[in-house]
């Protein structure tokens, strides 16, 4: 890879298909619930039955416009749907209703963070279309004697966004996809769930000798359905192309499939005629003339986007950029974080490092126990932001120690109760009563005369053993700072 990187320049463009979080499909009223039993979410329209007609889902158009505005695209005044033809059994009409010459939006950009700064990646176009069904093979595709079609996904609203070939490495491509996903999640237009196929990615990749002007031959890679796969597949492909060029071979313009399990791309041997899509304007749908007022209404309601939030979190909250990056992987996580911050600003006695303490707890504890960082996982978190803040207050006012707090956190997650309830019920309150603690220290000192002797003879580490004993006696509930002070007092008195 590094050898190839030095001799060749890499040029990558990504096409991302995002399933829109609409309640019904793009052109019919069928619901879009993931994981329903096969062929239970279909109707004559999304089964492509004779005589049926599509009608555009207004919310899908709104989501498209919202996304276009977030990427600073030009929302076209007039847009139109077109039929794209090819035969595949998961596509019931054997054409897909998509957009061709007049897409919803064009010419935008997405800023991504790369080593040593930020880069702006051009977005060429954004359009709406319908998804296809799912094929299940009896065995693998190559060995199957038959395949089975489930049309539940057929007709689900999809948004295709095509980047310009501005990405110059597999790592940048992965970074683009991450930033892209994060924006869509913030906009609330897609759940970003890559395992469930809500976000799917194809890449166009070519290489050329460093400094040479003409672009190399473009190869399309399909089936890149996770950040890791995007990077691995592109790394493989760049290496493959570099080796081919080194060996004096020519790169063939083709479509290749990423085999994630096997770690390589392979040619799909697509005959050239298969790409004759025979687009023409969809006669069953009328053109859309996007009302400028509608666009302005949508623009006015755009939420703060991940980049802006990160910038603000760093400047205003003093959050480390890394923390901000982790939190913006999910809109729900940021919402959670913001809610917790609001809670704690209302509470008294919060330290100035509260923003950082909160992000620590969210990143290391909350994300550890939750099943995911998506909308669903976070919204249904058994620990609401108010409870997390309550827990931090108990630490800060010395009711419990940080160590106990972690156990309390787990109990809060298991029971959904708040920290105070658990601490009180289980008697976990930190012993901060000087009198009570003094008596424990006295008895520990009485039982360990040798340690006291050692300490007085200058062996200062003996104090640590005594503190350990006190903590053990109080089952970790003693306030460590207080134990230290009282012990030092007593050791110097006697």
């Amino acid at each position: 890879m590094s050898a190839a990187a030095s001799r060749y320049e890499t040029v990558i463009g990504l096409e991302v298909h995002a399933q829109l979080s609409t309640r019904s499909k793009m052109f019919c009223g069928c619901p879009t619930t993931f994981g329903a039993p096969p062929n239970t979410q279909t109707c004559p329209v999304c089964l492509g039955m004779p005589g049926v007609l599509p009608v555009v889902n207004r919310r899908a158009v709104e989501f498209g416009i919202r996304t276009a505005l977030a990427f600073s695209c030009r929302v076209n005044e007039a847009c139109r749907f077109a039929r794209k033809h090819y035969y595949y059994p998961d596509m019931p009409k054997n054409y897909q209703i998509s957009q061709y010459e007049e897409p919803l939006a064009e010419d935008g950009f997405l800023e991504i963070d790369v080593e040593g700064g930020a880069r702006s990646i051009g977005i060429q176009r954004l359009h709406l279309e319908e998804d296809v069904g799912k094929l299940l093979h009896e065995g693998t595709l190559e060995t199957a004697q038959a395949s089975l079609v489930d049309f539940n996904r057929s007709g689900v609203a999809l948004m295709e966004t095509v980047s310009r070939p501005d990405l110059s490495s597999p790592a940048e491509a992965a970074s683009y996809l991450r930033a892209f996903r994060s924006v869509l999640i913030f906009l609330g237009v897609c759940d970003g769930n890559m395992e469930e196929g809500s976000l799917r990615c194809d890449a166009n990749v070519s290489i050329r000798p460093r400094g040479s002007a003409p672009l190399g031959t473009k190869v399309e890679i399909k089936n890149l359905n996770s950040f890791r796969n995007v990077q691995r597949a592109l790394e493989f492909e760049v290496r493959r192309q570099a080796q081919a060029l080194d060996a004096g071979e020519r790169i063939v313009q083709e479509t290749r499939l990423w085999e994630a399990d096997r770690g390589y791309t392979r040619s799909m041997r697509t005959k050239e005629f298969a790409h004759d899509y025979r687009y023409f304007p969809e006669p069953d749908l009328v053109p859309l003339q996007i009302d400028r007022r509608w666009v302005e209404e949508i623009r006015a309601e755009l939420p703060e986007l991940p980049r802006a939030w990160r910038r603000r979190a760093v400047a205003q909250y003093g959050l480390p950029p890394y923390d901000a990056e982790v939190l913006t992987q999910s809109r729900a996580l940021v919402d959670y974080y913001e809610a917790a911050l609001r809670e704690s600003s209302q509470a008294s006695g919060a330290g100035t490092d509260r923003p950082k303490v909160l992000s620590n707890w969210i990143m290391s504890e909350l994300l550890r126990v939750l099943p995911g960082d998506d909308e669903r996982a976070i919204k249904s978190s058994p620990i609401p932001p108010r409870h997390l803040v309550g827990l931090l207050q108990l630490i800060e006012n010395s009711t419990i120690s940080g160590k106990i707090a972690k156990d309390v956190f787990q109990k809060m997650f298991d029971t959904g109760q708040d920290a105070r309830t658990i601490v009180e019920r289980e008697g976990l309150t930190q012993v901060a009563d000087e009198g009570a603690l003094g008596r424990v220290i006295d008895s520990v000192m009485a039982a360990n005369p040798k340690a006291i002797e050692d300490y007085r003879r200058g062996k200062k580490e003996a104090k640590g053993a005594l503190i350990g004993q006190v903590m053990k006696e109080t089952r970790g509930k003693a306030n460590p700072a207080l134990v230290n002070r009282l012990l030092e007092d007593k050791l110097s008195q006697t």
């Binding site: 619901p31 062929n39 239970t40 089975l148 049309f151 041997r269 697509t270 025979r278 859309l288």
Partner: protein, 95 residues
């Protein structure tokens, strides 16, 4: 003029198995029809917007409200080869 190869290509594009005599007859008929259609070339249409809809209706959209689906047995009632609630097709050989 379109030749046999064109006819075969188009038949493949649209998934039609044509016999030898059908291919030949198709070539002849398509050429005769296309000769007539080529008279269109003589019509001056520079700067003339194409009409894809005879009526000037725009912006027809529906609200995003879920509607009832077909029961699965109804969805599959016309299927040539239903199999456990799925549509079965013969093996797919990648092209």
């Amino acid at each position: 003029m379109i030749d046999r190869k064109d006819v075969e290509h188009v038949a493949r594009l649209t998934r039609l198995a044509l016999t030898e005599p059908e291919l030949e007859r198709m070539r002849e008929q398509l050429n005769s029809i296309l000769a007539h259609l080529d008279t269109l070339r003589a019509v001056p249409t520079e700067g003339v917007e194409p009409t894809s809809h005879a009526v000037d209706v725009v912006n027809v959209m529906r609200e995003d409200e879920p509607a009832p689906c077909l029961p699965r047995d109804v969805a599959l009632a016309n299927a040539p080869d239903p199999s456990d609630g799925l549509f079965r097709v013969p093996r797919i050989i990648e092209e």
